[in-house]
Each structure stands twice: as structure tokens, then as C-alpha cells.
Amino acid sequence: MSELTVTVLRFGLLLLLWAFVLSLAGVLRSDLYGTRVINRQGAPARSRRPGRDQAPRRNPRVPTHLAITSGPLTGTKLSLRDKGVLIGRNPESSLVLDDDFASGRHARIIRGEDGWYVEDLGSTNGTFIGDYRVGEAVPVETGTTIRIGKTLIELRS
């Protein structure tokens, strides 16, 4: 073996080793996963998407979005999606309440055959419509106000 081949082999090993490390770094850079948190206070209009998220019928009694009218989140809105809206303190929820009176998985707003329903998920402090404590799914329509802890959520179309 010539001196040149030996040198090439020797430095080739170090180069290839570092090429491996750098390609790992490249994969690391593109390997993002987890949850994306969109903070909508201050820029509420930016991430609201029309279209698919809207209820199909334009009946004014059928709500299309939620609006928070009281509590720490006042003024924020969230569209009703067909797969439903999970409300609670759990960061996986669609609506994350920073409220000590809310449970991790507190309540759910789900789509029934003829409109939207709210359902309590066994929360500690309850979900209320007026004075009525929600248990099983109850229908809701535009104008209904749901109270969870200190938060009032109004359904709007």
C-alpha cells in the first residue's frame, strides 16, 4: 500500500465519521414534532380559517363559533369544528383554560345530527347553562352561554 492510500484511508475515516455526525444533525433539524401552540391574543384574526370549519348549513340558530365573554380569556373566539371542541386545562384541549376551577378534560362541544351539543366530561366543578348543571349532552344554539369556572362561553353564528 502506498503512503498516499494510507493517508487517504486515515483521513477518510475521520471525514466520514464527521459526515455521519453532521448528517445526524441535519436530521435533527428537520425532525420537529409535538404540539404547535398558536397564541391568539393580540392577533385574533390571523389564524382563523374559514371554509371547512364552518357548519355546513347557514341556519342562524346553528352556531359557528365560540366567543369568550367573561373570564381571563375575554374576547377570544374559536370556530366550531366538526370533530368537536374539547375544553379544559389539558394542553391537548382545543380551548385551553388557565382556570383553577376547570378540570383537565372539562367539557366537550360536539356535533349532533341536528346541531351542536355540550357535554360535561365528569368535571369537578361542573359546566353550567344558566343554573342548569350539564351532565349528558344537551343541545345548544346561538346565544346560549356556557359557564365553566370563571369563564363564560357564548355560542355565536
Binding site: R10, F11, L14, L28, D31, L32, L73, S94
Partner: protein, 460 residues
């Protein structure tokens, strides 16, 4: 700040094809290293190159296929890194075999390959049988008991085995085994299961002193027990490395579970106090410290010339190394186990061992990243603990041979020669792969209801 947040899940790519490419690259590095060694020794490309490389390739590919089958979202970086480290270790051991005049057939490298194969088989069994890491939580206390029994096994009269001044082996017929390597896995499961239950008490109760919340006296119990066990290991098995590893593992998991800096401070204080008292009482620890502070003094050279000679090896390697097969790493005693890092450093140079340390860093990062992605407290703690075990072990070994801390007898994971270490670390990697699969797999649908569980009647 209180605000409305909507949360969407970003699903990762499965990354199995990326993994395959990276495994091929890792194998290329190992094959090139092998060619380097053989060219230095015999001036020819080895005849059995394809066969020997094929064994390693087969091992890596089988795990890859099992991942495709059973954990398709597992982290794509872990397996290539481990393949490279293991392969590079085998090549280095083979190189030292040549220096010691051993054939491939009866050399340590072949044994290391056999242990690798066995370790991989166990890892695959773990991957196939353990579909969900949360099952392990049921065995919290069983794992704790198992860990302590394994730790104490070397102290038993018949099977315990003394070597190199430490009583950490058990001997069954021709086989020797270091049960502490497996004990660290069992104890990580135990710590995770235990801390996930008790962390609220450990985190919340206590008084505030100097801006730090001190825990109540009675909550110190578990920490004191862990401390006591590591002191026992230190005193009776004279194994400083395992002792450090176990206590460090517990303190770090305690910190992750409670987010309390006070636990780290208390832990470090206890460790320092224990180490100081042990230092006063036991001569072998005094020797270790002497070698650490002054390896080139006459006593240091006499007591532990290996440390000085290992440092000389590193120095001889310099920046770019002598080239694989062209240095003289066999001048240091135990070049394929405790001092394999110096052997690699001498022949690959600073550039080479920095790459190896970077690989360990990425491996640990992937473990911690999986811990963040996991959605259950037990898994988070277990993944953190396992990743931290690797990190701490690398630190203790590399720190020991480079005189950052006193030299202790731990093995460099995947690289150093040793069956029990390989088996335990492949199992550790299988657990990490299983948990990373769980962390990265997108959830079916966050808004779907949890199926109603029937109320169970508990009879006593």
C-alpha cells in the same frame, strides 16, 4: 400570561427510510475503520471483509426491520448511533486483538460480536413483547427489589467474584457477569414509578429558606435510602462508579420529577459528605484520589501507572491521531475495557473522539426529547432516567480517564469490551426506542372521548 391557545399536533415523519440511510452510513464508517486496521497490520484489505461487515449489517438490519414492524414511529437516530458505536468498539477491540497476537476466531472482538448479537436479540424481544412502556409501571416495586438484589449478588459468598480490586462480578461456571449493569435499568424503572406517585408530596411540602424550598424532614427518607445503598455499594463492593451512577440517577430523576433545585443541592451535599467520610476510612479511595490529583508523582506512577500511560496515549494521538492500527494503545493496561477511550483517542485523535462524544450527546438528547414528547409522567421520568444513565456513565468513564474526576470502573456504553454492559445497554436502547415510538406517534384524535371504563368492585 393568560391567553387563549389553540393547540395543533405536528406529526413527525416516521423516518424509517432516513434511519436505513444512516445505518448504511454508520456501517460504511465501521467498514472503513476495519480496512484501516487491517491495512496497518497486514498491508492488505482483509479477505473476510464482507463476511465480518455482513454480521454487523445483519444485526443492524434485523433491528431496523423489527422497528418497521413494531415501532414504526421510533426515533430514527438512535439505532444508527448505537450501530456505529458498537461497530467502532468491535473494530478497536479487534485492533487490540491483533496487537496481542490473538486470532479473530478466539479474540475478544469475536466474543464482543457474539455478545452484541445476544444483546440485540434481547432488545428485539423487548421491542416485540413490550407494546407499551406503561406496563412497566405495574412492576415498580418488583423492579426495585430486583435492582437491590442484583446489586447485592456479588457480595454472596459462592457466586461473588473479586477482580481488579472491586467485587462487582458474579461467576457462574465460565461466565462472569456484572449484575450492576442490569440493576441500573431495574432501578430506573423503580425510581420512575415511585417518583411519579410521590412527586407532589416531595415537590409541594416544605419551608422556604434563602429563596429555596427545603423539603420536610420525613420526605428525605427515599433520598437517604438511595444514598445509603450507594454508600453500601461503595464500601462493600468498592465500586465507586456504580455508586456514583445510582445516586446521580436518583437525584437527577428526583429533580426532574419535582423541579426543585433544593433536591440537587441536598443530594450533592450528601454525596460529598459520604465521599469525604469514605475517603478518610478506605485506603483504596485515597489511592484513587492520589492518582487523580497527581498521576505522575512517584507514588502515582507506582499505584496506577495505567492512568498516566493512558494520558500519554491521548497525548501521542494529538489532534488527528496516529491512524487506526498505527498507535501503541496496548501499552496501557486494560486497553479494551476501562481505557478504550484512550485507545480510540490515541488512534483517531481529538477530532475522532470529539465525534464519538458528539454521538453520545445526540443519543442522550434523543432520549430526553422523547421524554418531552411522552404524554405520561411515568414514561417521561423513565426516558429521562435512561438517557441520563448513558450521559452519566459516559461522563464518569471519560472524566475518569482524562482526570476530570477520580478514575472509576464503569464501561463506556456500547464501545468498551464487556458482555453484561452490552446486554444492559441494548435493552436500554430498546426501551428508549419503544418510548420514542410512543412519543412521536400522533395521537388518534385528541378530541375523541376516552372509552367509558366500567366501575370495578374491589373485594378485600
Amino acid at each position: 400570561m393568560r391567553s387563549l391557545r389553540t393547540i395543533t399536533t405536528i406529526a413527525p415523519k416516521r423516518g424509517r427510510n432516513v434511519e436505513l440511510v444512516l445505518i448504511a452510513l454508520a456501517l460504511a464508517v465501521v467498514v472503513l475503520a476495519y480496512v484501516n486496521v487491517e491495512v496497518a497490520a497486514n498491508e492488505t484489505v482483509p479477505a473476510g471483509l464482507l463476511g465480518h461487515a455482513g454480521i454487523l449489517a445483519a444485526i443492524a438490519l434485523v433491528v431496523h426491520l423489527v422497528l418497521r414492524w413494531r415501532a414504526s414511529y421510533a426515533d430514527p437516530l438512535i439505532l444508527p448511533i448505537v450501530t456505529l458505536l458498537n461497530g467502532l468498539g468491535v473494530v478497536m477491540i479487534h485492533r487490540l486483538d491483533i496487537a496481542a497476537g490473538r486470532d479473530f476466531g478466539d479474540g475478544l472482538a469475536f466474543k464482543q460480536l457474539q455478545w452484541t448479537a445476544l444483546g440485540v436479540i434481547i432488545a428485539m424481544v423487548v421491542l416485540v413483547m413490550l407494546r407499551d412502556h406503561r406496563v412497566l409501571r405495574r412492576y415498580t416495586y418488583t423492579a426495585g427489589l430486583l435492582g437491590i438484589v442484583l446489586l447485592l449478588l456479588p457480595l454472596l459468598p459462592l457466586i461473588g467474584h473479586d477482580a481488579y480490586g472491586a467485587r462487582i462480578w458474579i461467576k457462574l461456571g465460565p461466565f462472569t457477569f456484572q449484575p450492576a449493569e442490569v440493576a441500573k435499568l431495574a432501578l430506573a424503572v423503580f425510581f420512575a414509578g415511585y417518583l411519579v406517585q410521590t412527586r407532589d408530596v416531595l415537590a409541594l411540602a416544605g419551608r422556604k429558606v434563602l429563596g429555596m424550598t427545603l423539603p420536610r424532614g420525613k420526605d428525605l427518607g427515599p433520598l437517604l435510602v438511595a444514598w445509603g445503598i450507594s454508600i453500601l455499594v461503595l464500601v462493600f463492593e468498592t465500586d465507586l462508579g456504580t455508586s456514583l451512577l445510582l445516586f446521580g440517577l436518583f437525584v437527577s430523576m428526583l429533580y426532574v420529577a419535582t423541579e426543585r433545585v433544593s433536591w440537587i443541592i441536598i443530594g450533592l451535599t450528601l454525596a460529598a459528605a459520604g465521599a469525604f467520610v469514605a475517603y478518610q476510612l478506605f485506603s483504596h479511595l485515597q489511592t484513587r484520589v492520589l492518582c487523580w490529583l497527581d498521576p505522575f508523582s512517584p507514588e502515582g506512577v507506582e499505584q496506577c501507572g495505567q492512568l498516566g500511560s493512558g494520558l500519554m496515549g491521548l497525548a501521542a494521538g494529538g489532534l488527528l491521531g496516529t491512524g487506526l492500527g498505527r498507535g501503541r494503545p496496548w501499552l496501557t493496561p486494560l486497553p479494551e475495557t476501562d481505557f478504550i477511550f484512550n485507545s480510540l483517542g490515541e488512534e483517531l485523535g481529538l477530532v475522532g473522539i470529539m465525534a464519538i462524544l458528539a454521538l453520545y450527546a445526540i443519543l442522550v438528547e434523543r432520549g430526553l426529547r422523547s421524554a418531552i414528547g411522552l404524554r405520561d409522567g411515568f414514561g417521561k421520568l423513565l426516558a429521562t432516567g435512561l438517557a441520563f444513565t448513558v450521559a452519566l456513565q459516559v461522563f464518569v468513564v471519560v472524566g475518569g480517564v482524562t482526570r476530570v474526576i477520580p478514575l472509576t470502573g464503569l464501561t463506556l456504553p456500547f464501545v468498551a469490551y464487556g458482555g453484561s454492559s452490552l446486554l444492559a445497554n441494548w435493552t436500554l436502547v430498546a426501551l428508549l426506542l419503544r418510548m420514542s415510538d410512543h412519543a412521536r406517534r400522533p395521537e388518534a384524535e385528541p378530541d375523541t372521548p376516552v372509552p367509558e371504563a366500567p366501575t370495578e368492585v374491589v373485594r378485600r
